[in-house]
Every structure is written in C-alpha cells, then in structure tokens.
Symmetry: C2
DNA sequence: TAAATAAAATTAACACTGTTAACTTAATAA
DNA sequence: TTATTAAGTTAACAGTGTTAATTTTATTTA
C-alpha cells in the first residue's frame, strides 16, 4: 500500500509546485497576465501537464483564493479572542487593512478580481470565505447586543463597516488615490477608518 | 475649406461609431471579453480599421472612462447647486451610488478595473475625473468650515466618505455580497450608507 | 525477466486574442 | 487624366486557454 501512498503524495507535491509558481506570478503580474505557458516554463513542464492536476486556470485561481482566506481567517482568529466586542471589532478592522496592504495581490483576487466568484456556488467552496465574514458579523451582533454601537440593524451595520475598510483599501490597491499626498497615503487610510470607527460606536 | 471640414467630421463620426459599438459590448461583456474583432464585426469593418482611429484597445477604454466621468460630473453638478453643505454631501453620496448601480460597467472601468490608470499621467487625461473628486472634496471642506461634521481633517473625512460609498457599490458590482439576502441588497446598500451619514454629521 | 497494462507527460492542433506591415481600393490634387 | 494622398483590407506574427492524439515512463502481470 505504500506505492499508492507515495503516488498521492507526489500528486500533492506536483499540485503544490504548480500552485507556488502560479502564486508568485499572480502576485507580481496579476491573473490575466499570467499565462499557463509561463507557469509551465517556470516549473519546467509542458503547459498541458498542468491540466492533469487542475481542471483549468480558474481552479488554480480559486485554490489561491482559498489560501488567502485561510491566512486572513488565521489572523482574525487571534482577534476573536478579545472579549470586549467593540475592541474586537476595531481589531478586526485593523487586521483587515493590514492584511490588504501587506498581501495586496491576495486581497485583490479575494475581494476585487472579476469573475472570481463565477464558479463559487457550493457551500464547500468559499468555506473559509464565509467564516471570515462570520467573524465580522458575529462581532457586530455582539456589539449591538451589548449596546456598544449606534446602529441597531446587524445587516446594515456589518455592511457599513466592511464597506468602509474594503472601500479604502480597494481604492488604494487599484490606484485611485492619486489625489492624496503620496507620502502619507497609508496614514490617511488608517486614520479615516479609525475616525469612522469613533463615530459609529456609542 | 469645406472638404477638410467634412473629413474631420467623418473621422469623428467613425470614432463615435467604434466607440458606440465598443461601449455596448464593454457594458454587457466587460473589457477583457470584448475583442477588437467582435467590435469590428459589429460595425462591419475589418479589425485593423479600428487602429486608424484609436491607438490601441486601451485608448478606446480611456475614452469610455472619460464619458463615464462626464456623466457622473453632470449629475454632480446638479447636486452642487444645493447651498447647505451637509445636504449637498448627502445628495452627492446618493447620486454616486445610484450612478454606480445604474451604470455598473461604467463605474467598473472608472473605479475598479485594473491597469486603467496605467497611462493616466498628464493633467489633461483624468480631467473630469479630478473634477468629480473636487466636488466631493470641496463639499467636505465646506461642511467642516460650517462645523457640520464631527471630523476636522478634510483629507481623512473625504476619503472616509468616498471609501464608504465606493466600498459598498464595488462589493456589489464584483459580486461579493452573496451572504446578504438577495432581494433586499439594494435597500441595504442605501441604508448602510445613510446610517453612516447620520453618524458622521453633527 | 519479458510482455501487457496503466499512468504521466508531451506534441500537435484548434480557435481565439491584440497588433504590425504590406497591399489594395477609393478619394482628392495637380 | 494622371499623380498623390488617405482609407480600408488581407496576411501574418506572437501570444492565449484548452482538447485530442501520441509518446514516454512506471507499474503490474505472466
């Protein structure tokens, strides 16, 4: 039985090899500019070999997306230990922004890239994606339950907070902040979010 | 001198013909999936003819972006007549969201699409883009001057407000709101923004 | 160990893409 | 009417994702 074990292990290693090469190129060049032939070149295999391990290009993409979400979920898990809901909410926001600025290409394909959600249907896909969202939603609900937020409706409050942090980092990542002083952009990003935070809490 | 006049007019008409065909396809299919050959097919010209009127594919794209900004600027101009700064600010936010929901492909290429800003350098490009931003910035400054906002810093306040509306519509446009009840998404979008608005004003 | 089978990887090919160069057709000027 | 300029087309290049057929390699069976 050890031969089939090795086989599955080798299959896993090959998938990892492809994924790793793809990751580097996605991060540097983006999804569209990264071709399967370039990935194949990098790992010194023929382009079609990739199809023996991944159904198509988007499947590689989705696996990277899952990795991104598991990284973010990991960082969120630390914040979830904070007992006071409003402090927890603030920590989640800061973690979110820091993750986006440090892993902008991951963030890009998780929250911005077009058509990434096309084939996300089953509950199994998008799993850690939903979990990260639940961290935020539960925290907002806790805040409301403990009367720490001005808003009473969990849905609108969750979206408002998420939209705030997503808005600011996605404008930055997609290069729409040219009208702000370049040297202090990151400061402004954090400052604008924490100023909003001060206003939404009681 | 009337022949050269006609020539320049015909050139303009041809550009408009291409742009119009491209617009429809961009709006329905997006930038990447719209090929020059398909555009050429639609207007019944050969693909290379397009190059006699536009430098490359991105130049068509940028002209569409300019059109989008001029539409938005037009709607903003109406709001700018409102004398009370805080009312004006609220109107701008609502106009922004409505524009984004009604013209999502325009919005997409104006504020989300990757690399769209690559060749935007000169002050002449991006002109109405900057003007729309100035509407928001000036209004925020007016609000602060009249002590109608809790925030004192124009930069962070402007970004915070913009990020709020951009965040919410871009999550919607790029299909990241599957966890919200589908039938009431648009309501939640407007509700979350106006709830934030109530909190940032004095 | 040698032949048969299964798995892994490759080459060739298809139908696309944006873009350039060379050629043909139509319109203007001499 | 001929020479010149402009407009439009065809052919071609280098690239893309993907499929089918083929070869190479590894494993199993006789």
């Amino acid at each position: 039985m050890s031969i089939s074990e090795r086989k599955t292990r080798e299959k896993q290693e090959m998938k990892a090899l492809i994924l790793n090469a793809a990751k580097d190129m996605f991060i540097q060049e983006g999804f569209e500019k990264t071709s399967l032939r370039k990935i194949a070149d990098k790992i010194e295999y023929s382009p079609t070999t990739i199809y023996l391990y991944y159904k198509d290009k988007t499947e590689i993409f989705h696996e990277l997306m899952e990795i991104g979400f598991s990284i973010l979920l990991n960082r969120f898990s630390e914040d979830m230990k904070i007992v006071n809901p409003i402090d927890r909410l603030y920590a989640l926001g800061e973690t979110y922004i820091t993750f986006a600025l440090e892993n902008s290409e991951y963030y890009d394909l998780m929250f911005i890239t077009k058509n990434a959600m096309d084939k996300v249907h089953t509950a199994d896909d998008w799993c850690s994606g939903k979990k990260t969202f639940m961290c935020l939603q539960n925290t907002v609900e806790d805040c409301i339950a403990q009367n720490q937020l001005k808003s009473k409706d969990p849905n609108t409050a969750t979206l408002a907070f998420w939209a705030q942090v997503h808005g600011v980092v996605s404008l930055y990542i997609r290069d729409r902040m040219k009208m702000f002083p370049k040297e202090s952009i990151k400061d402004i990003i954090y400052a604008s979010t924490s100023s909003i935070f001060e206003m939404i809490k009681k």
